[in-house]
Symmetry: none
Subunit: 541 residues, 2 copies
């Protein structure tokens, strides 16, 4: 309905609602997705984005079960989260043991996470066949582990795995598992549709029954196997859960988890249940795309709210009406989630945003309509060909300064470069790059070696320049990302390289695009060093 | 819930249900998707697939509005549909005119389609601002056009555009539009959530009200802007609609239309409302992929039921239980939709999943605990160093066969390779690769050129091998992906390359990992060609 609509969902008054916790499990359950592999650095970068989004809890992984996750929690002390509570995921103690002496449980404590989510079985056949213990011992494992961790001062949540299937098979036992957790001090028991087979009305009925029967504060954890993960989550919220779990971009095993970005947007814009600040929601599209860059999972254009097509209209029948009153054709204001309306044919950002960005850099473009129009056209053309300036602030700044002043910022004149990568029979591959350029009135030729062509080029370029610009020793190559675009056929693909560099004061990212991956890397490298020298105030010599 | 579950949805008894019509609009509304362009031949091929799927109606396009659509209907006589009724889409007559003399309406008749769907406005502001006519004239246009076409012996449906938004703004008028259509002889009035902003409980409430107030046979037409298109459609079915509209793979403008494959699967497998034959449903995955081939839209791996990941399990944790009883971990039987369960091998994998995967390849490892343990250890070690086998089935198969037989599959002995990438002052970068190897008892040296180092290597390797193995001409490089891992410091980074190749029968993916991107590419290339030759049964020469 219209964007200002906030209908009151059936069956609940609005006044008596408890606060709703948003619980993100991108770093744990989302990482189960096929093709998704996160390094510790990736996890830290994603956690920062999640914190900016304003989620209440960030489930960081399973410390003790996985060395990478242990390392993440060890490093997480430096994260300095502003909004979110870091949460460790793990299991109840082993059957027949004791929580305080269980190595896995101790690893959860040792992680230092202020909140801990325990996964537990609520399904009799899973207890017997997967856990291979008795139904009574499983309840004891829940009670014992929750009690111990609460006693150690941690906030404890319980993920009741396979809850809905278990409820159908043996309702009484499933409810017992919930009661065991809550009576032992668990703050919330999240009902998990682990296999993802639920539909919304069924979900609502079960949540309603469990709430009435146990009085437990409940959460909901959905998977998208019926295409209803978002609707199931909303049905559970309507039925009274106090915590909603999900992942950014709906990452997760099989068909994925419930997409937290869609859920938050629906809650906030359709159901008048704000769970993050409006300013945070307005970052949703940027955060979605930034996290895609980290995971290297191609963004899904049709993703609700934040997808590149989410507000794209094929300009036909209603093009003129659209111009007069976009509200007639849009279910929500795209800017509320940081997205924008696109009429397909013409693309991209307009003059206003270019002017805004220029102002941030101290360049006043107000009134310079011609310059603005030229930059808009240039950016459109480059983005069509694979450039991305959202992720490459430094390249955009160099472009902007060049277009405004009419002259590129340049510290050298490139004559040529060449990279050789080779391997002998012993299998060891080596790379070597030769760079020829002019700077400081001299012709400079240097060779660099590296464990790959990009490192060799970086070395060669630095060796050539350092005599004239010793300041580049303070600039470090921090990160290097590659993405193949339009890869319907290998040979037609275009390669986009993003390079992050840093000095003592800041870090910045540059972009290069070419059919040749080495050429794209060269562009981004040269831009990166140029930006580093320029922003440090080094004069052209 | 379990696959045999068929809970009775709230509020309706099962006995009194009318038959449910499945109405496909892939060829009309689905074609509004960004990047989707269908030729007449494409439309005919898709219509054949839809007919095999067993949908009741195929909306073929708008004859008269679009020459391609006119041509499609002209050629559709040869389609010989077995299940579906071909349906033409069009608008009510022009304001102020008469239906029988309206060119657009006559084109609908001339299409020869036995059923016609008229789009009409049910939203007062759309009538006034987009249609630019009076509210009363709009109702007259509906009555007049429906009456005329029914009189000409056609089945007539009405798509009430922007119905839900219109209902909220002016319920009385929206209901008037429905009544005008039904009283004039329309068989079904489909309520359209054209902007896609609805949520399931709201949808149910509106459908319920319209049914009770007007007694009209209703249909539902949803878009996925809130991520709830499937759930909204099911809510409407639950509230009593007799027709459900959607598109294959959820194609459509913005976030797409409701995915008919998910809806049909849910109706049939979760709600005991069979709408196609079981044998037809079992073709769903094949049909989804075949249509993707025609549209050239990359299939979405996480698509419910039919996606390549929909029944893919990663967690090694429960692989052993999975082997004993897959029903504990699957919400439905994959074969019911023509999909299959896949166990993804990953660093979390144990022996059970290795054994399972081997069995899929026809290798019986049962009882060979030592071989299993060695492979598990090897996979864990490789994945720790950056390999990923869940995304590289072919590399895993080569590894598995090597470990089981004790000998690698190898078609050549590599002596050395070298790649040169260079750019002169004119900025054009070129790449050249020289490959030296032994095969077929000969020493082979060849050079390849390419627009990048990987293409040059691929060319060089093929040139060297093709004399001995002409079969490699049938293997194509389809896709190339690069990922930098552990990239805290550029120089320590490891590069992972995934290469997809294909022949006439299948496609497969291989992986290579090295500090040097060119070396990683070489590994994946060599594995890819090796797999292609091996799976085609080519002997080592």
């Amino acid at each position: 309905m219209g964007r200002t609509t906030a209908p009151c969902p059936r069956g609940r008054a609005m006044g008596d609602r408890p606060a709703l916790q948003v619980y993100d499990t991108t770093l744990r359950d989302g990482a189960q997705q096929e093709g998704l592999h996160l390094t510790v650095q990736d996890k830290i970068a994603i956690a920062r984005h999640l914190d900016e989004l304003g989620v209440g809890f960030i489930e960081g992984g399973w410390p003790g079960a996985n060395p990478r996750d242990t390392e993440f929690f060890a490093g997480a002390k430096d994260l300095r989260l502003h909004n979110a509570v870091l949460t460790a995921f793990g299991a109840t103690r082993k059957a027949g043991g004791q929580a305080h002496s269980d190595a896995q449980v101790r690893a959860l404590l040792d992680s230092g996470a202020p909140a801990i989510t325990l996964v537990a079985k609520a399904h009799t056949r899973h207890v017997e066949q997967a856990l291979r213990t008795t139904l009574e011992e499983n309840l004891a494992m829940i009670r014992d582990t929750v009690t111990f961790l609460v006693g150690e001062g941690r906030r404890v949540f319980l993920d009741a795995e396979h809850f809905f299937d278990g409820y159908q098979l043996d309702r009484a036992y499933a409810l017992e598992a919930v009661r065991a957790a809550v009576e032992s001090g668990a703050e919330v028991v999240a009902l998990c549709d682990t296999n993802g087979g639920m539909l919304p009305s069924q979900t609502a009925d079960v949540v309603d029954d469990v709430t009435r029967t146990t009085g437990a504060p409940l959460g909901i954890h959905c998977h998208n196997d019926t295409g209803c993960a978002v609707a199931n989550s909303l049905a559970a919220v309507d039925a009274g859960v106090v915590q909603v779990q999900g992942t950014v971009n709906g990452y997760g095993e099989r068909t994925g988890n419930a997409d937290l970005l869609t859920i938050i947007s629906n809650l906030q814009l359709k159901l008048a249940r704000p769970v993050v600040a409006d300013a945070q929601l307005a970052e949703a599209s940027r955060i979605s795309h930034s996290i895609s860059e980290i995971t290297n999972i191609t963004p899904y254009g049709r993703q609700p709210y934040v997808g590149s097509s989410a507000f794209a209209h094929k300009a036909g029948l209603h093009a003129s009406a659209l111009k007069v009153d976009p509200d007639l054709y849009q279910h929500a204001d795209p800017s509320s989630v940081g997205n924008r309306m696109r009429t397909l044919v013409s693309d991209m950002a307009g003059r206003a945003s270019i002017e805004l960005r220029a102002r941030e850099l101290g360049l006043d473009l107000a009134g310079q309509g011609e310059v603005q129009a030229r930059i808009v056209a240039l950016v459109k053309d480059l983005e069509l060909r694979g450039w991305t300036f959202d992720a490459a602030d430094a390249s955009f700044e160099l472009l902007l300064r060049r277009e405004v002043s009419g002259e590129p910022i340049s510290y050298c004149e490139v004559e040529s470069w060449r990279v050789i990568a080779e391997a002998r029979g012993d299998g060891v591959a080596v790379s070597e790059a030769t760079v020829k350029l002019r700077a400081g009135g001299r012709r400079l030729v240097a060779t660099g070696e590296g464990n790959g062509p990009v490192n060799a080029l970086d070395e060669g370029l630095r060796h050539a320049l350092v005599g004239v610009y010793p300041e580049i020793d303070g600039v470090e190559l921090v990160d290097y990302k590659v993405r193949i675009l339009d890869s319907a056929h290998g040979s037609d693909a275009v390669t986009r390289v993003l390079i992050e560099m840093a000095d003592d004061n800041q870090s910045w990212t540059t972009v290069g695009v070419a059919a040749n991956i080495v050429e794209a890397s060269w562009m981004a490298l040269l831009d990166g060093l140029t930006y580093g020298l320029h922003s440090a105030g080094v004069p052209v010599r």
